[in-house]
């Protein structure tokens, strides 16, 4: 039974995916949600495909019934004078179409709950996980690697085939941290740290973006996730430690101000970075009259300055 169910699911998923690709005329690589590159995205992909399969059955069945009824019982000159019967309903039929959706909902609910719980755990057990802190600040992504003491901005490097725990936080408005090929998103919220697991199966570069609107330049909040082999990752870390500049507290504070910056790399970050973030968030709405006058102008200046600068240069 189990294998049959699984086989059925696979087959339906395959049929659904093919139909979708044909409809959009795109290659699979261009549809990151349907091109999972890690165990988290894979689990979500399986669930998505299972739901698409079930929903396709519903759509086909209802469309067929609808079309049949519409054609057969449409008013035509031939059926002029036909008096439709006075049907009140049918307990049997109504019970059937209450039960069918119940069964479908159960068929969806069980894997949903299972995957929801699964995603809380490291995606694979075989390796020691890496932790990376992610902070969104208008309109940039700041990554800190507490185990290495280094920091990058607007891109992140991770070792492939190793579970990565992203600890998410925001300074200012919320954003949503989304790397569709590696897995679904989670919000970055001020003063509320959250964690999300991701893992890349193999080396490669995956696009990430903010999925939650956060103001003027939110559209440009994209970043690359570069998955490297463990060896290359170590090499990269060492190189950063040796060659990249240190990040002063002043520089870090400046990053938290609204504006856009290119990709950046630092061999260190301030020890009190967390506290600075908290402090910065606590200014929000503290004294609105002062903020309104002072803060507003500063903000204008910043965005004006950054407006037409490219953001991809190193």
């Amino acid at each position: 039974m189990v294998t049959l169910g699984k086989r059925l699911r696979r087959w339906l998923a395959f049929a659904g995916l093919t139909a979708l690709l044909v409809m959009t005329g795109c290659s699979r690589e261009q549809i990151p949600v349907l091109n999972p590159q890690g165990p988290v995205a894979q689990k979500q992909y399986d669930l998505i495909m299972w739901s698409i399969a079930l929903m396709t059955i519903v759509i086909v069945a209802v469309f067929a019934l609808f079309t049949y009824v519409l054609i057969k019982y449409r008013a035509k000159p031939e059926n002029e004078g036909y008096n439709p019967p006075d049907q009140h309903g049918s307990r049997l039929l109504e019970t059937i179409w209450t039960l069918i959706p119940v069964i479908i909902v159960i068929a969806l609910a069980i894997p949903t709950v299972k995957v929801t719980y699964d995603l809380e755990k490291p995606p694979s057990q075989h390796k020691e996980p890496v932790t990376i802190k992610v902070t969104s600040a208008n309109w940039k992504w700041i990554f800190r690697y507490p185990e290495e003491g280094i920091s990058t901005v607007n891109y992140v490097n991770i070792p492939a085939d190793v579970p990565v725990k992203f600890e998410l936080d925001a300074v200012g408005p919320m954003n949503s941290f989304w790397v569709p090929e590696l897995g679904g998103q989670e919000y970055t919220m001020p003063d509320m740290e959250m964690a999300m697991w991701l893992e890349a199966d193999k080396p490669g570069t995956y696009t990430g973006r903010s999925a939650s609107y956060s103001g003027e330049h939110f559209t440009h909040m994209t970043f690359n996730v570069n998955a490297q082999s463990e060896k290359d990752y170590e090499k990269w870390v060492n190189k950063v430690k040796k060659t990249a500049p240190k990040q002063s507290e002043a520089e870090f504070r400046k990053l938290l101000e609204p504006g856009r910056v290119p990709e950046m790399t630092f061999s260190s970050y301030p020890k009190n970075a967390d506290e600075i973030e908290v402090e910065k968030n606590r200014e929000d709405g503290l004294d609105r009259y002062e903020n309104r006058q002072g803060g507003h102008h500063e903000h204008q200046e910043h965005t004006g300055h950054m407006n037409h600068e490219g953001h991809q240069s190193h």
């Binding site: 949600v33 519409l70 036909y82 049918s90 959706p101």
Partner: protein, 654 residues
């Protein structure tokens, strides 16, 4: 807070964008045009006597529908601006700020100032007539509801030319919408305009609940009510339970912004997530507030045009009750991605999916109402038939979004955008247009042109699918909502262009509807029977348009589809005894609801710019109106038998 401070914002009059300059010019020209026409044709008194002071539910309904069509036009124009910007990669048609203001306005306008008044308009037109009664329970309150909505909408609409539009999204999550990151008056407009309109909506909920519970014609038990009346009853209950939450949420954010409280700020230990919770505790039931009446309208129309009794009446009622109950325990699915525990996400996933069960029951009951019917595809029925497949697609993608782990991939992407447009346009807008075509003869005494109606339907429906279906794959390709532009090379170009083409087709469809309204008023087929569709419910038992008192005699109801039963009886040659006419007790018109709401507008405008003196002065005006109302005892009059006889004779019913 300084009561006597009148600080001017940096830009009071917005004049920095060619589009907005164009808007200014057209606003001024339109205003001058209206003033000229009213003066030239000496219509000011007519406007005041017949419309601004009316408490007649039919006229209020008409005003609601006109207002929502205007808002549909503006919200649609916003949509076309956005689709133009997104037609090609790297377009420079709108800048980020302008785009952000437009999508915020579009969302807020379409839900609060288009969908809501449209459904309330339909309720006003149809409910008292369907129940066989002479007006709603509280006609004066009904006028207040309308004018509060109207002035709320006006307040929201002037924002883009005076002071600047809100730009934090219609969901207005803090801290983005807080005073730190959004200092301008735009967000205040959002808060206060919604507050004013929201109070009006709450009153509508109370009004229709009482009307339906207490004022049905004799013999009309609850289980004999038309399905639209049922949907309105359930909607009213949802409004009463949901709208106070919006009132509180808006008030708290207003306090945060105007008086420095800490409900949704990080400082002072407030919590931005609290806003998300309060907003969606209202926001999700709100979705059902705008969809259930559409379900009701479809039930009426499908049954009428299939010439068959509604299949499974009881199940239809129970499923709506179930949907309304579930609507209050699913709000968290709007933020599965905010780090909830797996237990919470699982619960809300399953409760959300469960909504598919009663909705599925309704769908099959509609299909089986059609089954063995004799389906006439007149314009209202076309919209109903367009609804079934469209809403089905919206519904199944809704189920897909309900799966929390899958939602992590769809959330805030164009997949979601497409989903909610499929249910809101395919459900609510189709429903309202269907209802508009259906009840138009009852409102104005003439039909909307059938041929233009078909053209509009096909253009709009095909355009709709061309516009929104490509957005499902766009979402899976990683395109997120509220992006104002996108680079080349992501494979998004073709689908976006297609989507824009579809949007313009919808626009053309809308223009045809607008033209057919004008054309039909002049040349359209007149409805002299009062029953142009061979209807089943009581609104078709009176003339088109209905006289001010609706029914000379209150009808007696003997079962579901009361008017159908009457017609069957008449066919069998049974003669009804007509009881003697009696004078009819009616509410007097009043200009106070208009003035009262205008004071709300003044108060709102004052608080938007934090000119507190004006704000409080406006509130004082509000209180003064309430005081005058309290001392008003002479607010009714009688229509005498002679006049009723004259009216009925003129309509050929005596």
């Amino acid at each position: 807070m300084n009561l006597f401070e009148f600080k001017m914002p940096e830009h009071f009059i917005i004049w920095n964008d060619p589009l907005i300059k164009g808007a200014w010019v057209s606003i001024i020209l339109a205003t001058l045009g209206i003033v000229f026409v009213l003066t030239y044709f000496k219509k000011w008194k007519w406007l005041w006597d017949e419309w601004l002071t009316t408490v007649d539910h039919k006229k209020i309904g008409i005003m609601y529908i006109i207002a929502s069509l205007l808002m549909l036009f503006r919200g649609g124009a916003d949509a076309l601006l956005m689709r133009t910007q997104l037609a090609f990669p790297d377009m420079k048609f709108l800048n980020a700020q302008h785009y952000n203001e437009i999508f915020t306005t579009h969302g807020t306008l379409m839900i609060l100032f288009m969908a809501m008044p449209f459904i309330i308009g339909m309720m006003n037109i149809a409910i008292p007539l369907q129940l066989g009664t002479r007006d709603v329970a509280f006609p004066y309150l009904n006028a207040m509801s309308f004018w509060l909505f109207f002035f709320g909408a006006m307040l929201f609409n002037i924002s883009f030319v005076i002071g600047g539009s809100p730009d934090a999204g219609w969901t207005s999550y803090t801290p983005l919408a807080g005073s730190e990151y959004d200092p301008g008056p735009g967000q205040n407009y959002y808060l206060l305009a919604l507050q004013i309109a929201g109070i009006g909506t709450l009153m509508t909920g109370v009004n229709f609940l009482v009307t339906i519970v207490k004022m049905r014609a004799p013999g009309m038990t609850l289980m004999r009510m038309p399905m639209f009346a049922w949907s309105t009853l359930i909607t009213s209950v949802i409004i009463i339970f949901a709208f106070p939450v919006l009132t509180v949420a808006l008030a708290l954010m207003t306090f945060d912004r105007l008086f420095g409280t800490h409900f949704f700020t990080i400082s002072g230990d407030g919590s931005p997530m609290m806003w998300a919770n309060l907003f969606w505790v209202w926001g999700h039931p709100e979705v059902y507030i705008v969809i259930l009446p559409a379900f009701g309208i479809f039930s009426e129309i499908i049954s009428t045009f299939a010439r068959k009794r509604l299949f499974g009446y009881n199940a239809m009622v129970y499923s709506m009750v179930a949907i309304s109950a579930l609507s209050f325990i699913v709000w968290l699915h709007h933020f599965f991605t905010m780090g909830n525990t797996p237990a919470i996400n699982s619960f809300f996933s399953v409760s959300t999916m469960a909504i598919a069960i009663p909705t599925g029951v309704k769908l099959f009951n509609w299909l089986f109402t059609l089954y063995k019917g004799r389906i006439e595809l007149k314009a209202p029925m076309l919209w109903a038939m367009g609804f079934i497949p469209t809403f089905l697609i919206g519904g199944v993608t809704g189920v897909m979004l309900a799966l929390a782990p899958a939602d992590y991939q769809y959330h805030n992407s164009y997949f979601l955008v497409s989903h909610f447009h499929y249910v809101l346009i395919g459900g609510t807008v189709f429903g309202m247009l269907a209802g508009m075509y259906y009840w138009w003869p009852k409102m104005f005494g003439h039909m909307l042109d059938e041929r233009m109606g078909k053209w509009a339907f096909w253009l709009f429906t095909i355009g709709f699918n061309v516009c929104f279906f490509p957005q499902y794959p766009l979402g899976l390709m990683g395109m997120t909502r509220r992006m104002y532009t996108y680079p080349e090379g992501l494979g998004w170009d073709g689908l976006n262009l297609l989507s824009t083409i579809g949007a313009f087709m919808m626009g053309v469809g809308f223009l045809i509807i607008a033209y057919s309204i004008y054309w039909s008023a002049r040349y359209g087929e007149r409805d002299t029977t009062g029953d142009p569709w061979n209807g089943r419910t009581l609104e078709w038992a009176t003339t088109s348009p209905a006289p001010v008192y609706n029914f000379a005699h209150i009808p007696k109801v003997e079962g579901q589809d009361a008017f159908w039963l009457m017609k069957q009886k008449r066919k069998k040659g049974k003669k009804e005894k007509t009881p003697e006419l009696k004078r009819i007790h009616m509410p007097k018109d009043s200009g106070r609801p208009f003035v009262f709401s205008f004071f709300w507008f003044v108060a709102g405008f004052g608080f938007v710019f934090e000119w507190h003196l004006i704000g409080f002065a406006g509130l004082l005006g509000v209180l003064a109106c309430m005081l005058l109302r309290s001392f008003e005892y002479d607010d009714h009059y009688y229509i005498e038998v002679d006049e009723i006889k004259r009216t009925e004779a003129a309509a050929g019913r005596l």
